[in-house]
């Protein structure tokens, strides 16, 4: 009897695993990748928890933390969050106006999300970096999250094809051997993965916690370094594992071509 149940569970697990590789991504997508014009100093930010390549959303509870760090100064933006819909699911939006030159590192600490398919909680600590009015100092500073990607490539002003390099820190220390999932924000579903392996790209961090990825086409790209949190969360009387992802989003652009 127990054997039967175990076998059934295994079979079920297999079936679930064999499905298309849906990678979860914490997302913070700004309305503009850089701020250069004072008339457009207000940046809209869309915060969600989604499958960016497939365009499937999940309901996201109000984050625990949402803020911006600029020049070592932290500003809490949690109160600015308004409910919204992204990919037909609950998400959040906010606006932030740059008043002077700076580099805004926006970060989100979400409520852990329970994923029944994986029987674990998922918590993606997500960042995006927006520079304003010519300033660019400070893009390489960590925010100090439990897990985070500290960029080694400036995370804005990049062309398509550039190699993006980042360092994964867990509790402030470089994390070797961590899988980093890479996914494209397929906003208008303009692209389709040729096969299920193509939906999510994967690279691993080296002994120093460093990973690299060459970006193949233009748009927003998300990098999610997946680690297991040391703690578990109690659910229905059982201790569930917590996947702690460190996510960073960056936009890569085609050069403008002169019109002849």
């Amino acid at each position: 009897m127990t054997h039967g149940i175990r076998a059934l569970c295994s079979a079920l697990a297999l079936v679930l695993w064999a499905g298309p590789a849906l990678a979860h991504f914490g997302m913070v997508i700004p309305s503009q990748d850089v701020v250069t014009d004072k008339d457009k100093a207000k940046v809209g930010l869309v915060v969600s928890f989604s499958h960016p390549m497939e365009g499937n959303g999940m309901d996201m509870a109000k984050p625990k933390e949402f803020g911006v760090v600029d020049g070592g100064k932290k500003a809490d933006l949690l109160a600015a969050l308004k409910p919204a819909k992204v990919m037909d699911h609950a998400a959040w939006t906010a606006e932030y106006a740059f008043k002077r030159p700076g580099v805004g590192i926006f970060y989100v600490v979400p409520e852990p999300y329970f994923e029944p398919a994986e029987d674990k909680f998922i918590e993606h600590l997500t960042k995006v970096v927006v520079p304003a009015f010519g300033e660019e100092e400070g893009w390489d500073e960590p925010v100090g999250l439990a897990a985070e990607i500290v960029p080694l490539t400036r995370p804005f002003g990049n062309y398509v094809g550039n190699v993006f390099t980042g360092k994964v820190l867990v509790d402030g220390k470089p994390a070797p051997g961590v899988t980093v999932e890479v996914e494209y924000y397929n906003k208008d579903k303009a692209y389709e993965a040729p096969n299920e392996y193509m939906t999510t790209q994967a690279v691993k961090t080296d002994a120093n916690g460093v990973f690299s990825y060459a970006v193949p086409f233009a748009g927003w790209w998300g990098f999610a370094a997946l680690t297991d949190a040391p703690e578990t969360i109690e659910k229905d009387g059982a201790a569930k594992k917590v996947e702690r992802g460190a996510v960073l989003w960056a936009k890569f652009l085609e050069p403008k071509r002169k019109k002849k």
Partner: protein, 228 residues
């Protein structure tokens, strides 16, 4: 008078020139904001590397006419009062920085920005008509100069009309006074977000606003009372 098309063309040209300079390696940054009657200019290579003794030239963005020149201080800062001539022409200000070794950049302060920061210098002449060409220059700006208001008069009564005409004048005066009072507050906010202004300062500022609004309302009601 120039047609709006021509204005649009000039604005585009200015924008193009401004953005074309952005991409130099080791580029130098100019950023400016307006407080009351003063334009504050900040010049830097980066947050920690400022432009000391950089040459500043303030020009009419459309014609290139130079209003004033100067140099930045040790912190890369420079401040100047909006030139009355520029205000008269409702000219966008191009702030050109030359930081040596061919490093230069510029920043445009739009006429709307300084007009909004300091309420119009007293609406003596009908400034409304002179304003229109500037509107062709760029996307809609939220700040409508207060000088455009007098058209509101609805009663045929002369006294009533006078009171209505006085309204904008009082409003402009109050706005100017408020701007003067909150300018230091705003600077504090900008200068040091970390420390931030104390609650006392914020409430003080709000107090000023409420007080001045009250004064304006009182002034208006007295004028209206006299006419009746």
């Amino acid at each position: 008078m120039l047609s709006w098309r021509r204005w649009l063309w000039i604005a585009t040209a200015v924008l193009f020139v401004a953005s074309a300079r952005d991409a130099l390696a080791h580029r130098v940054n100019v950023f400016a904001y307006v407080e009351g009657d003063t334009v504050h200019v900040e010049c830097s290579y980066s947050r920690s590397d400022r432009v000391r003794l950089g040459e500043i030239s303030v020009q009419n963005a459309a014609t290139g006419q130079v209003y004033l020149t100067g140099t930045t201080d040790e912190r890369g800062d420079f401040a100047f009062a909006v030139p009355p001539e520029a205000r008269g022409q409702k000219a966008d200000l191009r702030i050109l920085l030359k930081a040596g070794e061919g490093h230069q950049n510029d920043w445009v302060v739009k006429a709307e920005e300084y007009a909004a920061a300091a309420a119009a210098p007293a609406p003596t002449a009908p400034a409304g008509s002179a304003l229109d060409p500037a509107k062709g220059g760029g996307p809609a700006t939220p700040a409508a100069p207060p000088a455009v208001a007098p058209a509101k008069a609805d009663g045929p009564d002369r006294a009533c009309l006078e009171a209505a005409a006085l309204g904008p004048v009082i409003e402009a005066a109050v706005e100017a006074a408020v701007e003067k009072k909150i300018a230091p507050l705003r600077k504090m906010l900008l200068d040091d977000k970390e420390k931030g202004p104390g609650l006392a300062e914020i409430f003080g500022g709000i107090g000023w606003l409420v007080g001045l609004a009250g004064l304006a309302a009182y002034g208006k009601s007295r004028k209206a009372g006299k006419g009746a």
